[in-house]
Symmetry: C2
Subunit: 492 residues, 2 copies
């Protein structure tokens, strides 16, 4: 014993530092700087089988030299999507924020576990600071919160808290012996409400979808009808997931009306503001969120509209101590009371998670760099560009808006190729418009020049869904999108 | 409309790049290089209230200059814990791996969402490559897997799959109408089994703890007894969480015996190898995991023993398509069948998560850099150092091992100060030994020179738990730990 086992000779510290420097410079050139240049392709699309031939993904018995590793890293950039590129409109993420990236550099260098103050003191304090600030923005004046791995996870935790505060015994006894519990969301809510219902043992059948109006907003009367129906069936309505900024149309549910119904029927009101929470940052647009302060909990993904690097998701609760009451158990190896600090700072005490990545610092650094005013102008600019885009679509006879007056930065529309101009606008007509959307998208994707998402929703067949959030995008880029779609769809 | 709203003047691209470069150099100096020097303090401990005075965490209306931001970042390093420092033995993480860090630099620069191939092609393929390799190591020859946000989450997903494959209808109907479902784990299993039981609606009372032997291993006869008791009560045993490497003692449950019982009683066998899975990387130590291939699922945290940056957790399943069957729902806005690639590569189709950070690339890059052999020697070295430490403890009369023959790199022990030497070793004696552990730890923590964790477990009162995993730690460091504990505890 005590003899050193065989060691494959690792690179020296100096060689490793050189390697890290080389990789960082590659990141700067191939992502940070490349994504500023509109002429850089934002994707060089390859199918999985092709990609496997171009990049050797397979893991082997022996290690590679730094030279080979750098060549591999170069290929990673060759075939990855530049989500920070101004022509990336494919998803609710993007923008490659310098301060967010800087925050990640630090978080990764100090790689630690956000479960206890002891080994993550600064990260913990940044988490508290950001949460406090966001609680204020929402109007939860005596609340608490936590960062979570994703918006879906936030909704899951909220659902768990909603259930456990109503039936505290179910923490130990489970759902056995309880009546059937029903959760509600609008038919255009994010699918996580349904997935979380399965996960928590309620089942998708007990996640009831409430009808929306033609702008994608939950109809409060329909909600109350369903609540009453639920009670008549002998089930218990426990929670509604209202949405601030739906995924596809960007709709905001009527929070005041929903809150009234919730208080009448003793229902936990959760707001999924994963996407729309950012409106709270703007004096001009925060009215979209009117009434969110009446909710019991709210989920907000700074990794979407605020351009924080993924993952960065926050759950806020109106009432203090609920997280602890619902989740704490006695864990002597990790959470000790004989610590030289107030152990409320050991964040995982109150969570289902044990180990946690430290997701707060990057957002904290962004906020320090921009201030509220920087975020406000970011949101205002995004909305101004979306409004400009909407106006251009109205002006162009070969485009058709799905929703006449979008509320948020989602702009949904069809392109009408010359072959269809002037045709009667019946159901078939829209089906045909829908059918060409994927073709146009694919052409743009293969050209590497533009990525725009598409989706059907409710009665509307597939349409383009533009998402504007990147602060490096300008008004001309909006025209460019429409021109590119025209150019790629003209012959269809 | 279309007029640009007020903008707080942001820094130019060149200024932003300079800032990023400055931050990166700070990371290199203050974390990567600093943590190589044993004379660098690994923590400058401050209480939360003190820290708030030293570092202005509060968020404000306006942004800060780059100069001020850099000063803030400097303070972040001043008061953070250097988990990569060779004297950090506090948790099952550490080591600051250069290739892991490089992988993070790239992942962060390409910041994207790992939910679909379309926007994360390379990340997706690295995820498949790593999973395939790990499946082989475990011996799941036709399995599948996924990265998850944390080992606790892996266990949750496994529990959900165990339930849904047994009661497929519960996906839609929930637990209503089902008999009481019971899960099992050892009394020394990680607490996530219990938390997950609450989360999934089973309740902590239905997570039964099976007795361990004095080395911390589940006693199979006790397990079967409890299974029979459960059935006699009219409940249904659905899952056991066996552990490969318990958190505190590093014990490995007897997998073959447990597997036999599981097949006799039709119970899903999950192995929590969050900590001990790394033994599979070593020819010399993989026997510790004998029988893991008989499990239905296995969770493995590369962010622990393998030194991957947090978060990096993997769930592996023996059978293909279960994840999809249990979790997929129709989500037309995100998962579309008219894509130019096989949509099995859209990973979130099969998950509860929607958005996902791309956690695989960093591990993939580490594996490329080291090869299997590099990881093997990393594990062998860690075990060799733990064995050396164990031997030194045996040799020193003022130390006492908790477990005479540790199986893994957890080494648990008490220090016996001169005032207690030669006393009778009864229950009181050990209680007294336990009582001085936090004092010694605190002294070392305040000196900034050494961080070692402690814990009680089962009948053993609080002891030091050394965790050896960092490949920059050497044999002399083991002696240093004992010397430091002696030096700080001598007067107690
Ligand atoms: C044995 C074991 N299982 C599970 C976990 C939980 O993993 P995580 O902290 O990633 O949730 C841990 C970590 O502490 C562990 O030691
Ligand atoms: C409205 C809404 N809610 C929730 C989510 C889920 O967030 P995440 O992807 O972080 O789980 C999304 C993201 O797609 C969303 O748009």
């Amino acid at each position: 014993m005590a003899t050193n086992p065989d060691v494959t000779k690792p690179a020296s510290p100096e060689e490793q530092d050189k390697f890290l420097n080389d990789v960082f410079q590659m990141c700067m050139q191939r992502a940070v700087q490349a994504s500023r240049d509109r002429n850089t392709p934002l994707v060089n699309f390859k199918k999985p089988e092709e990609l496997k031939k171009l990049l050797n993904f397979e893991l082997q018995g022996t290690g590679e030299s730094h030279t080979n590793l750098l060549a591999l890293c170069d290929k990673v950039f060759d075939y990855s999507v530049l989500s920070g590129h101004p022509y990336f409109f494919n998803q609710q993420i993007g923008g490659l924020d310098s301060y967010g990236y800087a925050g990640n550099l630090i978080t990764d260098a100090l790689t630690t576990n956000g479960h206890t103050y002891e080994i993550a003191p600064v990260f913990t304090m940044t988490e508290f600071a950001v949460l406090e600030h966001m609680l204020k923005l929402v109007g939860f004046h005596n609340g608490e919160g936590t960062f979570c791995p994703g918006g879906s996870y936030c909704g899951m935790l909220a659902m768990n808290v909603a259930r456990l505060q109503k039936y505290p015994d179910s923490k130990s006894k489970g759902l056995y012996g309880l009546p059937r519990l029903v959760t509600f969301c609008s038919e255009q809510a994010h699918y996580s409400a349904e997935k979380n219902s399965t996960l928590l043992g309620l089942g998708t059948d007990n996640c009831w979808k409430v009808k929306c109006d033609n702008r994608g907003k939950m109809i409060p009367e329909e909600f109350e009808k369903r609540v009453i129906q639920c009670k008549n069936e002998g089930a218990v309505p426990i929670m509604v997931v209202a949405t601030a900024g739906t995924t596809v149309l960007g709709a905001f549910d009527p929070f005041h009306e929903i809150a009234d119904i919730c208080s009448r029927h003793d229902i936990w009101m959760h707001i999924d503001a994963a996407w729309g929470g950012a409106a709270l940052l703007s004096q001009k647009y925060k009215h979209l969120c009117d009434g969110v302060n009446r909710a019991d909990s709210l989920a907000w993904n700074p990794h979407k509209m605020m351009m924080a690097p993924i993952q960065c998701s926050v759950l806020l609760l109106k009432e203090k101590d609920l997280l602890n009451r619902c989740h704490s158990i006695n864990v002597p190896y990790l959470f000790q009371n004989d610590k030289p600090y107030d152990t409320k700072y050991d964040l995982s005490r109150n969570l289902v998670q044990c180990g946690r990545s430290c997701d707060a610092l990057k957002l904290w650094l962004m906020w320090k760099a921009k201030g509220d005013s920087g975020f406000e102008s970011q949101v205002n600019q995004a909305l101004a560009k979306a409004e400009y885009l909407t106006e251009q679509i109205r002006k162009r006879s070969d485009f058709r808006l799905v929703i006449p007056e979008p509320e948020y930065t989602n702009v949904s529309f069809w392109y009408i190729p010359p072959s269809m101009a002037g045709k009667e606008e019946n159901a078939d007509y829209f089906k045909q418009l829908a059918s060409i959307v994927p073709t146009i998208k694919l052409r743009m994707q293969l050209s590497g020049k533009l990525l725009v998402g598409y989706s059907p929703v409710g009665d509307y067949p597939t349409f383009f869904r533009m998402i504007v959030l990147n602060d490096k995008v300008n008004f001309e880029d909006m025209d460019h999108v429409l021109n590119e779609i025209e150019r790629n769809g003209r012959d269809l």
